[in-house]
Amino acid sequence: MGFIKKKRIYKYFLILAFIVLAFVITISSTMGVADISFIDSLRIMVSRIPLLGSLIDSESIRQSHYYIVSNVRLPRILLSALIGVGLSIVGSTFQSMFRNPMADPYVLGISSGASAGATIAIVFGLGGIVGGLSIITLFAFLGAILTVVIVYNIARVGTRVTSLGLILAGIAVGLFLSSMVSLLMFFNRDDIEKIVMWTMGSVSAATWNRVGILAPVVILGSVIIMAYARDLNAMSIGDETAKSLGIEVEKVKKILLTVSSLIVASCVSTSGVIGFVGLIVPHTIRLIVGSDQRAVLPFSAVTGAIFMVVCDTLARNLIPPSEIPVGTITSLFGAPFFIFMLYKNKKKVI
């Protein structure tokens, strides 16, 4: 069955997925050292929504609970949800655009670039805060963007870039930067723990400020990418085919690369390297709904958000009071699930 026939069903399932996301967010906000009931959590969150909030009487809720949910847990949950959206959307975009199922958001070396930037900031002890963001975050962002620019220019032939060229350049530059990070760690042993913790990925530094910066980038970026869903479909068959179907392939590639890079750079610089989400979420979705990006992108976005919120909830609750880096959880729980999906699908084909 094609996309057109299933459009209506997809719409209902997408609404259902949003409801699940809202439910997961509420559950997550009740979990933690302070014991807050589901209803209270829900009331606190609704009270924060403009207009709707005035209808809720939040006087009866304990002030400390109100603070914990709305200023500690909620920004963290929303940040992980946004990162889940961003990484999944970009992963799906790259897999289609590069016609490579192995592609993930970091395939252009963005994660290594961000790590190198963050490492430099850590090693040189640049710990200040600029515009509400730590210098480490800013350096990570700059490192990520700079890396993409370098990779793009290595892969560029005239005004064209080939997918293979981009991937190879991304791997090469990424490996180079990774070894640079190792070298920096070797010469600055005192900072090793801090650097390793950064690269493992965590959203524990969440603030409303960070949510406010990440949200427009991820949401606007995702909307732009979704507007190109049909072009991505054609490009997943082949650049030449896409061109013969009237798509300005080189122009679309540039737009999507720019938007995707901005999304990933923003995500990775706020949270460190969170692996696997951008690889397995789009794949899992594709196993269920097929390859049409008009379905894959929105479902990946919501599922990515759900997945990240669940993983981060586990990260902060599994061994209290300490935290497991969320990047470890995503792989630890994501990999077996993905293997299960692959196995099940293999059986279906045979």
């Binding site: 094609g2 996309f3 057109i4 049909r230 013969s244 179907l245 009237g246 390859s291």
Partner: protein, 277 residues
Amino acid sequence: MESRVNYPIKIQNLGWKYGDRQILTNISLAIEKGYFYSIIGPNGSGKTTLLRNIAKSLVPKPQSVFVEDIDVTKLNSKNMAKRLSVVPQNTNIEFEFTVTDIVLMGRSPYIGRFQAETSSDLEIAQRAMRATNTWHLRDKRITEISGGERQRVIVARALAQDTGIMLLDEPVSQLDINHQIELMETIQRLTKTKEITAVSVMHDLNLAAQYSDYIILMNEGKVVCQGTPHEVITEENIKRVYKLDSYIMDNPVTGKPYIMHVSKDDRLAKHSVPILI
């Protein structure tokens, strides 16, 4: 107005270089509307480069390739895609689209970024699938059908593009003989019934001779000769271009030329050939 365009593709003094290598030299052609043209020639003779110049996937020099009397360098991708469709050589698709989805992609040049396919797009796709005998595959995934079926689906997509011109790059070279014939017959039928102008790069000389109205023979980047299969497929031309000795007879059923390759040893015993006739 459309009916006055009798030569939807015109080529004037087209040349093409890959770096320092001259691939095409001074090619001039006029392709007549509603006919099936085959481009033949040995490997490296420039067939595919010529096709890609017409399709603008290699951008030719201005004033050298005209599609429906418009210089292709002046046409943007969308307007090009409304005039000319392409069936590429390699149609391996790894992503799991249904056949209907693939055929509907042919409607892309007519659909705006924020629009969805209309029922008329679906109707056009359906007609294209029926014309290529792929309608029964409509709900199948493109990854689970055979090579021959997939190639017909790609032709259906090109058909859904609703263009006057269809370019094909060795569309049958990877298919079994029965699928080759099925596809060639489909293309032949489309040129006859829908007045589509088809230009196809072909490897198999006998298939080209059998199904096309006109043949363009290329060698070393130049057009050696062009004309009906009888005019082009001659022992002299085959000898000149392919350096092969051959014996050509008319297919007793269709009357089209049919090449039999003769090795040097056979030629010594040429007396045996007349007995065959």
